[in-house]
């Protein structure tokens, strides 16, 4: 099962790399970088308000351009990156691998159930899952900073499936582009 998934990942990586090469080559002017400006002021941590780049449910919609800040959501008690996020993540991975001076911070978060300190560990697991994919793509460990907030920094308030789903996330922030 794992091997098949790995194969899939590799195939997706190759496909994404191809997309990225065309996309990023065409888009490497300072003007274009600044046009991405709105993306830098993400709505994460804003109580799930429906600002720029969120769907009707309040979930962040990841841009398929790099460098752009991202949010990856996770299932209950899970630390595997969703297949549907792989494309966006691999685009960022490729950018980071090709721009060794750029840096990213991964902020792992959990929903508000369970022990505070144990949840720090669970948030960390999610960071690790994202970092592993980045490193598989050639991103250097020194480019990745990881922090886990556990359940201490919720994006959405409330005790319901929707709030929990919004909070189980890794926020992917460029600290240097």
């Amino acid at each position: 099962m794992k091997k098949i998934n790995m194969m899939k990942n590799i195939l997706i990586t190759m496909a994404a790399t191809a997309i990225l090469l065309t996309a990023s080559c065409a888009k490497k002017t300072p003007a274009d970088m600044s046009s991405n400006g709105a993306d830098q002021s993400q709505t994460y941590g804003m109580n799930g308000s429906n600002g720029y780049g969120s769907d009707s449910e309040g979930f962040h919609v990841n841009a398929l351009t790099a460098p752009s800040n991202q949010v990856y959501y996770f299932g209950f008690n899970e630390s595997d990156v969703h297949q549907s996020d792989m494309k966006a993540l691999l685009i960022q991975a490729n950018y980071l691998a090709n721009h060794t001076g750029s840096k990213v911070r991964l902020e792992g978060n959990t929903d508000n159930r369970g022990s505070r300190e144990y949840n720090i560990g669970l948030g960390w697991r999610r960071d690790q899952a994202v970092a592993r994919i980045l490193e598989q793509q050639g991103v250097r460990p020194g480019q990745i900073q990881m922090i886990s907030y556990g359940k201490e920094k919720p994006a959405a308030q409330g005790n319901n499936e929707h709030a929990w789903a919004l909070n189980r996330r890794v926020v992917f922030v460029y600290t240097q582009k």
């Binding site: 109580n47 720090i120 920094k153």
Partner: protein, 428 residues
């Protein structure tokens, strides 16, 4: 009296919190099978005790909330012992307040047992104190301690403090995280630290003079140690990755903590003098929430090495680790009782998180709370009560439950959420 003055001095230096952020203790579940006691209003007492109350109102609340006492005939001024015997009181407290000058009051009280065997004195306590007006509340708690200890044989916790995190979420503004220390009954909250980034895991140094906590300021998890009197703080740990779950050893010389120096969360012991680290666990699993046994010979911690979080004990002498919890599939964040016989912990059943206790010799687990989202248990220094985080009306509140499960109390903030509490050691 010297001690009382010292306590006042310590809290004086810290910032006064706006009153809207105060928390107030509310009894939510009482008991019947407790010692019936009559607290006669002290002669000449007025509402001049801080928080606009009286000496006997403070003592009454203390004793009632402990779950060990049932206060009868409240506010009845009768000093007739025969009357109180007829009301089936076991003991009576009588007292008197005298203002001796502009600043000072003399307070005397007696604890009288109504069923003393023939030939034995029925006056169990008879004491006199001199305090300033601002010290009247501190003194009332002190008297509660004396009565509690005399009648139960156990040291009272009415002069202890609690640390907790207050989170304020003003609309359309970033949240504010406040580290606060207040009296055990929620009175007199003082801010030690305010941050726009999360604060968590406050923990007391065994001498009660410092707190360690985790701060996420500058997007970096760090453990700090802060002096309660001066407010000065010192960085203890700021390794890349997790710096979490600090816990002082009983002698205060070492700190157990969680770091990700190997990539995975593992438990380390730091010598606080040399800052030298000893790695205790070396696993791929999440190992966290170390807590010391009272003799300092072992630590209990949470690990998901079998897939789900369970409590384990590591013995320093043998370097052996043994599993402690087996009930259900989520047991976490243990706190060891001062007599080393029990742990209080988090337990999940049917998706609900409760505070539970487990007898360490029999292994029997007993659930104490049923609210569903309870976390962060912290034992009173006399082992009789557990303070924990809970939710009520969609806000974070603090709860207290007696270890026998009979008494429950709630401490909500008037505004914002309160969470992540830690009960102080005895402070005098």
């Amino acid at each position: 009296m010297r001690r009382l003055k010292k306590i006042i001095f310590v809290i004086f230096i810290l910032t006064i919190l706006p009153s809207y952020a105060a928390i107030k203790l509310e009894l939510t579940q009482g008991v019947n099978s407790a010692i019936p006691i009559a607290i006669v209003p002290f002669a000449n007492q007025t509402n001049n005790v801080p928080n606009n109350t009286t000496m006997t109102a403070v003592i009454q609340t203390d004793l009632q909330n402990s779950g060990e006492f049932r206060v009868i005939g409240a506010n009845n001024p009768s000093t007739d012992l025969a009357y109180w015997k007829k009301q089936s009181a076991n003991d009576v407290i009588l007292g008197k307040i005298q203002q001796i000058n502009a600043e000072q009051y003399q307070v005397s009280f007696q604890l009288i047992n109504l069923y003393a065997p023939a030939g034995q004195t029925n006056i169990l306590l008879d004491q006199k104190f001199t305090v300033t007006q601002s010290g009247l509340r501190v003194l009332a708690h002190h008297i509660s301690n004396l009565i509690y200890q005399q009648l139960t044989g156990v040291r009272g916790i009415f002069s202890t403090k609690i640390a907790y995190i207050l989170v304020q979420r003003p609309q359309n503004q970033p949240p504010q995280y406040n580290l606060i220390v207040a009296d055990e009954d929620g009175f007199d909250p003082r801010i030690l630290l305010r941050s726009s980034q999360p604060l968590m895991s406050p923990t007391w140094m065994p001498n009660g003079k410092k707190l360690a906590y985790v701060s996420f300021e500058n997007n970096q998890a760090s453990i700090y140690e802060q002096d309660l009197r001066t407010g000065n703080r010192q960085l203890i740990s700021q390794y890349p990755g997790i710096n979490n779950a600090p816990a002082f050893s009983p002698n205060g010389n070492r700190l157990a903590l969680v770091l990700t120096r190997t990539g995975n969360p593992n438990i380390y012991i730091m010598d606080l003098q040399t800052k030298q680290l000893t790695q205790i666990t070396n696993d791929y699993s999440i190992d966290t929430e170390p807590t010391w046994s009272p003799d300092g010979k072992s630590i209990y911690f949470t690990s998901n090495r079998t897939g789900d979080p369970e409590i384990y004990r590591y013995d320093f002498a043998t370097r052996q680790t043994s599993r402690i919890t087996f009930d259900g599939n989520y047991n976490a964040r243990a706190c060891v009782s001062p007599d080393n016989n029990m742990i209080a912990l988090m337990h999940r059943e049917n998706g609900l998180f409760s505070i539970a206790k487990q007898d360490l010799s029999s292994g029997k687990l007993t659930i104490l709370t049923q609210a569903g989202l309870d976390d962060s248990p912290s034992l009173a220094p006399n082992g009789k009560m557990v303070l924990y985080g809970s939710r009520f009306a969609d806000r974070g509140v603090l709860g207290m439950v007696s270890m026998d499960g009979r008494v429950k109390l709630r401490l909500p903030a008037q505004e914002g959420s309160v969470q992540d509490p830690a009960w102080s050691p005895f402070l005098n």
